[in-house]
Symmetry: C2
Subunit: 585 residues, 2 copies
């Protein structure tokens, strides 16, 4: 039921899979040292374990009741949020100009992992605020920045993202919310938005809503959408014309209010334009890569929490006798080979997802901070390529690992008080929001594979091949790791070529139909080789041996799925023709 | 939100995958005709869709509150149960001598699929009653049979199974409930049982508990366990000394009461011995194969219901434009290749699981009803071999398909009122109860592979190979089906040989560690070839083309995972040594 952040493992991943030492040596992070990073992680781990983790079960049980437009969160949640913001955690990734600490993304995502592992429901509000800060910082007027940024950075106020409407989910072109020019430079916003995370709550005095809406003379489709800042409390202290008109009853994240927001029931909510008119979607997209990475991190986080719970249970619970058990009585179930396989699968998949996410963060950091423009461009392409993999692979793993966590608990896993079931319920949203995993896969195939004329994906595969070469002749302790990972990388390479040909040959159906297995294949090859990097960098001590064992387990038991995925990608086009037929009968 | 049983598909599966026509021709089922079977299925489909399916969401919301020892189910549930039993559905599989219809298992499992697809929570009570009937019929005294069987068969009373105690879940050797001889032929039962499905409720006037307990002079371990019949209401009409002392808050099946049962708080509950003293576990095992098959069917059922919900949503919901879409506006999401892949995966896995379960039922029927003793023996071995596959593969698929069903719904899938989330919550218990899926895999490897000197598994693989041969040169419409299924079957064959050698060479760790991927591999090869049998038997019409497309999708996109699973089984032994290490760090 508790959570202790695996700081050593996180640090090792930052070093071996995300190149932390090289980035520091390159001067990317100013005077930040590797030791500074570790110190931050240790401090965050304490806060996450001591203050946030205990909120998780009670918050799930309490929910977020709505009464007369007011959403009430548990008092413990309010207090923890206040302490968390006051300790400066909300400001960690924020721009220094507005009171933030301006720490790099690699540090921020590691902390984000901890907050979400401690309580995903608690951490969702701050995640949305980060997005609002980014959009405002990049596209807001000086006046808006002056008025809102410092308070959003400190966490005194929180932010939201209002995109979805009943008829406009994945397809924002269908968006109908309206904005009319008020004549004084402000706009009057009307419309209904659904699925608004932390749309209303009692954690902060003000809530800063970013709302997508259409001007009367806007062109149809996505080129006619503008972004507005619509605060709950107006600058003069009066209440804006917006309210929470409903709260969803969800499968999970019960501690995070998911609101239906009504704008302009009394004539129009006052909003300020962010960026240019009709360019709202571009403003959203600038922040979307980071938001997607942060959702990927949620998958890692839930997986880690579920793993820790299952591991603790498996050490304590005794049933039956394991093969070769000595001494009297029942064995701890962790000694049963099948339970061990489940725990190893959980740990290896969690570690692989983490490595992919951290590597993505490092690329996005380099894209922003490197001195050389060509290097920034290369890193930006790498970050863009890896982001959908980080989001979709990690959140799929979050669900799978949470489900395995229930299985390790046996009958107790199905009982809510154990906490294992909550992880599955909470995890299930992450493959859906911030772009469904199907959309991530399509993004990867149709937009990211062509990046830099295909050079981005070629470079990533080349890096995986270098890892495979480094594994050769590393001795028996690696078992079949090198061969299994080589096969996975070559499967990825062939599947990539197939998809590039399909795209070039204007066979979008085949490319789209193979997108999801292709993304999974990418994750296997990337995750496996990154675990190998971590194992190769490890010392000759027990922790090092453990990292080798984990990497080997992944290669021999999980990466072996690569060939089947390749077959599915390459033959995937064939089925789409017959598909309607099979579904119609 | 609704459910219409796929009667045609079920009938086609009974014919092609479960050999219904041959069984009828062989006279196994008396004067029952294939038309009779179809008529029963159609009637059951009507009842399941019209009466039971509407209970599913409200029952989930209402739960089963416990107050002063009384568990109350929704009035609609009580009425539906009464109508269901009065229509004779409870008596369908029961022995004719006690008012049952004595229909074969193949018919019973198809109906069980419908009841569970309509409402798993509703159907669990009757499933437990079937188990009680079997145990009583096979092992009960004439007096007990006379007193209880007819009422359990008709459904006037319901039955329960009381095995689990806090310290005794998968390992019944640790069981502590006590039974003392009262001196008048009855026994006094004391102890606490947990996770008792339908342990208390207001559907019937009496509840017949079957309880495992130990006599004072019983040997330790599983050879000292006896089985008792302990009715809620004693034959003289007075209340027995037992009560429901708690109700679990579970992830799913909220409409099914999961009770903590306290026996003998006031001195001892009166019980009657079933079978011989200390032979209780053997009594339980005689009914366990059928119970496991019925749980496998629950996986198929939930998968089918989730598929129907997702399919209906995908036809209706419009977002974006599918490749090649004509006409104005957004496309139904079913036209997007990635959504189509998810729906096809759902349908293909559901159909494969169904085929495995029905084939298992047919084997168990033949084992009981064939005239030739050698044939009965062969069929019994086949049924025993397939039962763990039917249970574990199908229930894993139930969870996976329910999860995909949420994904197809996008954000709406996470909202409880849609119903998709409930399927995931409900499905998640099936891989756990009636022997966890890990235990099923171990049973398959350690007890079932050696059956008949290995002949049972060899015969099953030979049958798969025959299907592959029949697929050769069947034309382009089958695509790579034959090659993919051949590869899967040969992977299964090699993995089988590996495990048999490991068992013979006394390397139980390697065999146990590979059990779970082996079972999955078995399911892929078996499910794929059975779908091929259904496709080969189909007509040259549209429905036939649809069956070919589905089989081809399974072969090209799902069965291709076989090679990776084989690798995991065969190299599985290696990791177990390093495992503790990786988990300790």
């Amino acid at each position: 039921m508790t959570y202790a952040a695996p700081v050593e493992e996180m640090a090792a991943t930052l070093k071996a899979a995300a190149g932390l030492e090289r980035a520091v040596a390159d001067g990317l992070y100013g005077d930040l040292t590797v030791e500074d990073v570790t110190a931050v992680l240790e401090e965050a781990a304490r806060f996450a374990g001591d203050v946030i983790a205990p909120l998780n079960r009670p918050g799930d049980a309490a929910g977020t009741p709505l009464e007369n437009g007011v959403v009430t969160l548990p008092a413990a949640h309010r207090e923890a949020y206040k302490a968390w913001a006051e300790a400066g955690w909300n400001a960690l990734p924020g721009p220094e100009e507005f009171g933030g600490q301006g720490l790099p993304l690699v540090v921020s995502v590691a902390c984000t992992e901890m907050w979400n592992a401690a309580s995903m429901a608690f951490s969702l509000g701050p995640l949305l605020t980060i997005g609002a800060v980014e959009a405002l910082e990049k596209h807001g007027s000086d006046e808006l920045k002056e008025r809102y940024l410092a308070k959003l950075v400190s966490g005194e106020w929180m932010g939201t993202m209002n995109l979805t409407e009943p008829q406009a989910g994945s397809d924002l072109a269908a968006l109908r919310a309206k904005a009319e020019r008020a004549g004084d430079g402000t706009y009057l916003i009307t419309g209904t938005k659904i699925f608004i995370t932390y749309g209303e709550h009692d954690l902060t005095d003000n809530i800063v809503h970013l709302v997508l809406a259409r001007l009367p003379d806007a062109p149809a489709g996505t080129r006619g959408i503008s972004l507005f800042l619509v605060p709950k409390i107006l600058p003069d202290g009066s209440r804006n014309d917006l309210r929470c008109s409903g709260i969803e009853h969800k499968l999970g994240i019960h501690g995070s209010p998911t609101c239906t927001m009504s704008y302009g029931d009394d004539g129009g909510a006052t909003g300020w334009l962010i960026g240019e008119e009709n360019r709202g979607l571009a403003c959203m997209f600038t922040m979307m890569n980071n938001a997607r990475l942060n959702v990927g991190i949620q998958g890692v986080a839930i997986a880690e929490r579920a793993y820790q719970g299952a591991l603790a249970y498996a050490k304590e619970r005794r049933q039956g006798r394991a093969p070769g058990a000595s001494g009297p009585g029942m064995s701890p179930i962790i000694e049963h080979p099948d339970i061990r396989r489940m725990l190893l699968t959980m740990k290896a998949q969690t570690a692989a997802s983490r490595a992919i996410c951290y590597r993505t963060a490092a690329a996005l950091d380099r894209a922003r901070l490197a001195g050389d423009p060509a290097e920034r461009e290369r890193a930006a392409a790498q970050g863009a390529l890896l982001t959908p993999v980080a989001k979709a692979y990690s959140t799929d793993i979050g669900v799978e690992v949470a489900s395995l966590g229930i299985q390790v608990h046996g009958g107790m896993g199905f009982i809510e008080e154990t906490g294992a079931a909550q992880h599955l319920r909470d995890s299930r949203i992450a493959p859906i929001y911030e772009g469904t995993n199907g959309i991530q896969a399509i993004d990867l195939v149709t937009r990211k594979l062509p990046l830099a004329g295909g050079e981005a994906v070629r470079a990533e595969i080349a890096s995986m091949r270098a890892t495979v070469r480094a594994l050769m002749n590393k001795g028996e302790v690696f078992g079949m790791t090198a061969a299994r990972l080589r096969d996975a990388v070559e499967s990825l390479d062939r599947a990539t070529s197939f998809l590039q040909r399909a795209l070039a040959g204007n066979d979008p159906t085949a490319a789209l139909a193979g997108a999801t297995p292709y993304l999974r294949l990418f994750g296997l090859a990337s995750g496996g080789t990154l675990l190998a990097e971590i194992a190769l960098a490890a010392g000759a001590d027990e922790a090092g041996a453990a990292r080798i064992a984990l990497c080997r387990f992944f290669a021999e038991n999980i990466a072996v799925g690569a060939a089947g995925l390749e077959a599915s990608v390459v033959d995937g086009g064939g089925f789409a023709v017959d598909a309607a037929l099979a579904l119609a009968s």
